[in-house]
Amino acid sequence: MTNTVDTIVSGDRASGDPASGGRQPLPDPAPVPSRRMRNFLLYLRRNPTLIGGIGLLLVIALFVVVGASVTDPTDAQPLAYRPSQPPSAEHWLGTDRLGKDILAVMVEGTPQTIRIGLIAGAIGVAIGTFLAFFSGYYGGALDTIVRSVVDILRTIPALIVLVIIAISVPFQMSVEMMALIVAALAWLGPTRVLRSQVLVMRQQSYVELARFTGMSGPEIIVKEMMPNLMPFIVAVFVSAVSGEVLASIGLEALGLGPFEANTLGMTIYWNIWYASLINGWWWWWTPPIIVIVMLFVGLFLVSQGLDEWANPRLRKSV
C-alpha cells in the first residue's frame, strides 16, 4: 500500500493546501518578462534534450558557415574540377563524379534542404493551426469535414501522393517548387495534433468567460487560446520541419527533385545514379548521410524538448 500512499501525497501537494508553497501570493509582480526569461533559462538546464538538440543544429550551422568561408559557389558546379578525387589538401572532402567539390556541394545543399523543410513546415503549420483552431473551436459541420479529410488523407502513404504531384509538375523543378510540393500534405499532422489541444482548451472556463466578455470567435482564438498553445505550436513546427525534410529527401532520391540544385537529397540521388557505394567513393556518400542524421537527431531532440516544455505534465519533477 505504500505506493498508494505516495500517490496521496503527490495528489495532495498538487491541490495546494500544505502551507504556502502553492497558494500564497508571491510578492514579486513587477519584473515579469525578465523573470520569465530567467525562468526559461533556469528551465533549460533541466531539459538536456532541448540543449542537445539545439547543440547539434548549431554544429551544422557552424559547418555551413566555416565551409562557406573556404569554398566558392562555383566549386559546386559540374565539371569544376577533376571528378571522383578522394579528400586532399585542396578538396577537403574530395570531388564527386560530376566534378563538383563535395565540401562546396554540402555548404550549398545543407541550407537548401533546411529551407525546403522550413518553408514546407511553415506552410503546413500555418494551415494546420488555422484549420485546427477554427474547426476545433467552432465544431459542427466544419469540424466534421476537417476531421474526416485529415483522417482519410492520413491513411494514404504520403510519398505516393507526393510522387504523383511531383511527376505531374509541368515545368522545371526548383528548390521552392520542391518546398511547395511537400507542403501539400504538411498540414495534416499539425491539424490533427493541434485540433485535439484546441478541443481540450475550449473546455476551459476562461475561454467561456471570454465569450461572456463579448469577444468574437476569432478574437478568442487569437487572444485567449493561441498564446497558450504557442510553445506547443513551435514544437509541432519543429517536428513538421523534420518531417518535410524527410519527405523532400525521399522525393529527390527517387529522382523527382530539382536537378540543378545541390540539396542533400539530390546528392543522395547522384550517389545512387553513379553507384558510389560499389565504386568505393566513400567520401561522396558519407558527408550527406552524416549531415542528414545530425539534422534529424537535432530536430527530433528539439521537438521533444519543446514538447516537454509545452506539456508540463511531461516535465520531470525537479
Binding site: 508571491l26 509582480p29 515579469v32 466578455t213 469577444m215 485567449e224 498564446p227
Partner: protein
C-alpha cells in the same frame, strides 16, 4: 411583465443516440423564471448529479436544451444574435466554481477586468478604465495593488474569486448566475465572498442565482430556493419555509445532514448510518418517484407513479405523495411561489 430569463418545460439529456445507451437526464421538465423587476437571490440546491449546474448553464445559453424553451426577454435565447446578443451579455453574466480556471494563464489576473472594460466600452480613456477597476476591487475588499499586475497563480483562491465578483460589479449585469462560487474556498472566506454577492444584489439590484450544495449559506443569503434531485424540482419556495421546515423527505435528509456546530456530537448519538449506508448514493431508476429508493417514507405507489408538484402553501411547492391532499401546482413555473421583496 416578461421575465428576463425563463426556462419553459426544459429537459436536458446527455448522451443517448443510437449506439450509446448511457443516457442521463440532467434536467427533467423544469420551468423557472427570473423576473426582470424585483431582483432577489435564489438558491438552486442539490447534490452532485442533481442537475443544478446544468440548469444554470441552460440559462447562460452555453448548454442547449433537449426539449423545451429557454427564453430571454420572452424570445428564444438560441435565436438572439447581433445587438440582442450584446445586450444579453450586458444583462447576464456567470461566476464560475473554480476560481483558477477562469484566468487565462498567459495573462495577468487583471486581464479579465481590462478586457471587460474594453469590450463593453465602460470607459473612454485607459485611465478612466483603470480607475473603474480600482473602485470595483476596493468595493469587494481587495487592495488594487495586491491584484493589478499579478499573475493568477500569485493570488489566493479567495482573492481570485473576489476578482470575479469585482468583474461582475464592473459590468453590473441584471442577472448573475453563480455556480458554486464558494465551494473551493475555505469557510472564513466564504462569508466575505457571499457578503459581496449579497451587496451586489442589494446595492446594485442584480438578481443572483446561487447554485450550491450548501443549504446553510443558501439559507443565509437567499430569499427563495429550488431543491433539485436527479433533474427534477422536488421542493421550492421561500427559504424560511423550505429549509426551516422541509416537507419533502429528500430536503429533510439534506437539512438533517448539515453538520451543526451548536449540536455538538449529535450525529453518532442518532446513528442513522446503518440504514442509510446500505443505499449510499443510489442510482437505480424506478418508474415512479426518483427518490423512492432512498426515501424513508416510501409508499407502494411511489415506485410506479411520479408525483406532481403540490402547493403546500402560497410560498412552497413539494413533489411528494405525502402531500397529495394539497392542490396541484398549476403554473409550471416554480418561481411563482417565491416571495418577492417590494
Amino acid at each position: 411583465m416578461t421575465p428576463i430569463l425563463e426556462l419553459r418545460n426544459v429537459s436536458k439529456i446527455f448522451g443517448g443516440g443510437l449506439l450509446n445507451r448511457n443516457r442521463t437526464t440532467a434536467v427533467d421538465d423544469v420551468s423557472f423564471s427570473i423576473p426582470s423587476d424585483a431582483p432577489s437571490i435564489t438558491a438552486v440546491a442539490g447534490e452532485s448529479g442533481s442537475g443544478k449546474t446544468t440548469l444554470s448553464r441552460l440559462l447562460l445559453g452555453v448548454t442547449k436544451p433537449s426539449s423545451g424553451e429557454v427564453l430571454y426577454n420572452g424570445a428564444p435565447l438560441a435565436k438572439v444574435k447581433g445587438e440582442g446578443r450584446k445586450q444579453f451579455l450586458r444583462d447576464v453574466q456567470p461566476i464560475y466554481q473554480d476560481p483558477f480556471g477562469v484566468y487565462n494563464p498567459f495573462y495577468r489576473a487583471d486581464h479579465l477586468l481590462f478586457a471587460a472594460v474594453e469590450k463593453f466600452k465602460l470607459a473612454k480613456t485607459e485611465q478612466e478604465g483603470r480607475r473603474l477597476i480600482q473602485d470595483a476591487l476596493e468595493t469587494v475588499g481587495l487592495r488594487p495593488d495586491e491584484v493589478l499586475g499579478r499573475y493568477p497563480h500569485q493570488l489566493s483562491g479567495g482573492q481570485r474569486q473576489r476578482v470575479m465578483v469585482a468583474r461582475a460589479l464592473l459590468l453590473q449585469p441584471r442577472v448573475i448566475l453563480a455556480d458554486e462560487p464558494v465551494s473551493m474556498v475555505d469557510a472564513s472566506l466564504r462569508a466575505t465572498i457571499l457578503e459581496s454577492l449579497r451587496a451586489l444584489n442589494r446595492d446594485f439590484r442584480i438578481s443572483i442565482l446561487y447554485v450550491t450544495h450548501d443549504l446553510t449559506t443558501a439559507y443565509q443569503i437567499c430569499e427563495n430556493i429550488i431543491v433539485m434531485y436527479q433533474g427534477t424540482v422536488v421542493e421550492a419556495g421561500a427559504v424560511e419555509e423550505v429549509i426551516l421546515s422541509p416537507q419533502h423527505p429528500y430536503t429533510q435528509l439534506l437539512v438533517d445532514s448539515i453538520p451543526r456546530m451548536q449540536a455538538v456530537r449529535n450525529w453518532e448519538q442518532e446513528e442513522q448510518e446503518a440504514t442509510l449506508a446500505s443505499v449510499d448514493e443510489s442510482s437505480q431508476q424506478s418508474a415512479g418517484c426518483r427518490f423512492a429508493d432512498r426515501c424513508p417514507a416510501v409508499m407502494s405507489k411511489c415506485w410506479t407513479e411520479n408525483p406532481d408538484l403540490y402547493s403546500l402553501s402560497p410560498h412552497r411547492v413539494a413533489r411528494c405523495f405525502l402531500h397529495e391532499e394539497h392542490p396541484n401546482f398549476k403554473q409550471a413555473d416554480v418561481a411563482q411561489t417565491f416571495v418577492r421583496q417590494p
